[in-house]
């Protein structure tokens, strides 16, 4: 196992800059999840760590030694691809043992490793099959098996579950978590799935525009997003935002309402401010502001209400199964301790 340090790492293709100065310290045994919108450079970062993509500037260190120029085969890192990238002309067993055969491991060692991985992943019945005779979930397991047989310094996962259906994804997610508990291997995991990110990560790295926006535990990102991007990206359904201006004793929203809150002094009056609240923190109460129901989305677990509040869209999540129909009037209130405030530059205002 190993620690990985990423120091001011940048990558550009010609004049197009994908990553511009990424810094990250990954501790030995940590499970890091990378999230961010499509095209923000998550896969690029992962490939650079694996050695598949050249570094434009900056440094990658594995266990404190610089690996920028090291060939992928000498980095001792395993990777699970979104496409699985199984070798079509090799049986499952040979797929999994390819790395060990390249390293000329002894026959007994290889067999023990295959047997171990196969039993861990439930692949015993398929060892002699070719990948094309396997289902998507089984192929995914083989890809995992290929990574774990060799006990590498670190694992890289690039959206490994995105081709699976919801049920299987849930199951594999639990297995990955269990596996990480067993192996305690340093892992970097890219995903688009909010739940995967929240459940698997020791720390989440939120990326946007080629920069790391925030690094922290899942709940840290959820409860105290560092900026507007993270606030809007983490959580589903996403956070509600209202534009307003700073006022001597609170925030005046665009529609004229005055929110009475204590904000740290210092910034000038009349400065633009964004107020955010998560859909599940909005309360449907007897007294409050009147809003019209636009749309009702039952999820089984609860209901997502799309409301219109003085012409502003507002999403509310409630586990209350109150029978509501579009057009109906409800009143909502915003508990002030659940409000998030962001300054004109989009950064969180600490309270």
């Amino acid at each position: 196992m190993a620690s990985i340090t990423i120091d001011n790492l940048a990558k550009s293709y010609g004049t197009y800059s994908v990553l511009q100065g990424v810094n990250l310290e990954i501790k030995d045994g940590e499970f890091i999840v990378l999230v961010g919108p499509s095209g923000c450079g998550k896969s690029t970062l992962l490939r650079m760590i694996a050695g598949l993509e050249e570094v434009t500037s900056g440094e990658i260190r594995i266990d404190a030694s610089r690996v920028n120029e090291r060939h992928p085969k000498d980095r001792d890192i395993a990777m699970v691809f979104q496409s699985y990238a199984l070798y079509p002309h090799m049986s499952v067993a040979r797929n999994m043992s390819y790395s060990m055969r390249l390293r000329k491991a002894s026959k007994e060692k290889i067999e023990a490793a295959i047997a171990g991985a196969a039993s861990k992943l439930g692949l015993e019945p398929y060892l002699e099959r070719r990948p094309k005779a396997l289902s998507g979930g089984q192929r995914q397991r083989v890809a995992m098996g290929r990574a774990i047989v060799r006990q590498p310094k670190a694992f890289l996962f690039d959206e490994p579950l995105s081709n699976l259906d919801a049920r299987l994804r849930e199951q594999m997610r639990a297995e990955i978590k269990k596996m990480h508990g067993d192996l305690k291997a340093t892992s970097i995991y890219v995903t688009h799935d909010q739940i995967e990110a929240m459940t698997l990560a020791d720390r989440i790295v939120a990326m946007h525009g080629g920069l790391v926006q925030q690094v922290g535990s899942p709940l840290e990102l959820y409860d105290r997003p560092a900026n507007l991007f993270v606030a809007g990206f983490i959580g589903s359904p996403g956070m509600n935002f209202f534009e307003g201006t700073r006022h001597s004793d609170g925030v005046r929203l665009a529609d004229g309402t005055l929110l009475k809150v204590q904000l740290p002094p210092g910034a000038d009056d009349e400065q633009g401010i964004t107020v955010g609240i998560r859909p599940e923190h909005v309360e449907l109460s007897a007294e409050g502001v009147g809003a019209t129901v636009d749309l009702v989305e039952p999820t089984g677990f609860g209901i997502i209400l799309h409301l219109s509040l003085n012409g502003v869209d507002l999403k509310v999540f409630t586990s209350d199964r109150a029978f509501l129909t579009p057009g109906q009037q409800v009143s909502v209130s915003f508990p002030t301790h659940h409000l998030h405030f962001f300054d004109a530059g989009g950064n969180r205002i600490l309270r």
């Binding site: 060939h71 085969k73 199984l86």
Partner: protein, 276 residues
């Protein structure tokens, strides 16, 4: 559901027509090669002679230089096919996987070489090969054929490599392979259909090439089989029976060759199933 018999029938008929059309010259070749000389002109146009004979075959094998031509052709076509396929696999892989500054120009140049009528090149090539001692030699022919076939074969191989996901060799490199080992152990086995197609294409092209074989070779020792066929044309007559018998025998290696690689060719047509 009852399906009408008519479309099926029309479909089969169309295929049959095509097969007859494609194979008729071969049938005629065979027919003439088995017709005794005295019947060839006396019987008129018939689908099958009233009497057949193997005397042309016996004559060609025993009294002509045909076995030498045959051996030369096998050597030249086989070497060309192998050399071209090796070069084209490497260059096709490079074109498919790497970006480099001169790529655009190299591709352009290779396309350019395909635009000239070969006749234009005979004289310069002769001039180049003479001081090198490569005229009148099989090596010379192999060199020339290889040069002519590499560009097209490169594009052919490139299209096969393009069909193989890049993630496969990346996975192999992460597993501990160098790029070359990943190429040899992972990519090449998956390209076997492409290799078979390239081998077959180049082999047949070299097997039937006449122009350069005629111009660069004189004398029977280094003549290939298409040139050899011309020896059956004498000043005053053409010995059709012997010529056709030689032709039939010349078909055998090409047919065998395709029989050998046909398994991979068929695989090539269903290559989608290979993707992991």
């Amino acid at each position: 559901m009852r399906r009408s018999i008519l479309p099926v029938f029309a479909h089969r008929l169309a295929i049959l027509c095509y097969i007859v059309f494609a194979l008729f010259p071969l049938f005629w070749l065979l027919k003439v090669s088995l017709t005794p000389n005295d019947l060839l002109y006396s019987e008129g146009v018939r689908m099958w002679p009233s009497r057949t004979t193997f005397e042309h075959y016996a004559f060609v094998l025993q009294h002509s230089a045909f076995p030498v031509f045959f051996k030369n052709s096998v050597i030249v076509s086989g070497s060309t096919a192998i050399a071209v396929t090796i070069i084209a696999s490497l260059s096709g892989y490079a074109l498919s996987r790497f970006t480099f500054r001169t790529k655009y120009w190299i591709v352009g140049l290779m396309l350019l070489t395909q635009m000239f009528p070969l006749v234009m090149l005979v004289a310069p090539i002769f001039k180049i090969l003479t001081p090198l001692g490569l005229t009148n030699s099989l090596t010379g022919l192999v060199v020339v054929y290889t040069a002519f076939n590499v560009p097209f074969a490169t594009f052919l191989m490139q299209s096969f490599f393009d069909g193989i996901p890049k993630d496969l060799e990346k996975a192999a490199m992460i597993d501990g392979a160098t790029r070359f080992i990943a190429f040899r152990q992972i990519i090449l086995p998956l390209t076997l259909p492409g290799i078979a197609a390239t081998l077959g294409f180049v082999f047949t092209a070299a097997w039937s090439e006449l122009l350069f074989a005629l111009m660069l070779i004189n004398g029977n020792n280094a003549a290939t089989f298409p040139v050899g066929l011309l020896t059956f044309v004498s000043k005053f007559s053409v010995d059709f029976g012997q010529m056709m018998a030689a032709g039939v025998m010349a078909l055998i290696p090409a047919a065998l060759f395709f029989l050998l690689i046909q398994r991979y060719l068929v695989q090539g047509l269903t290559a989608g199933a290979v993707k992991g």
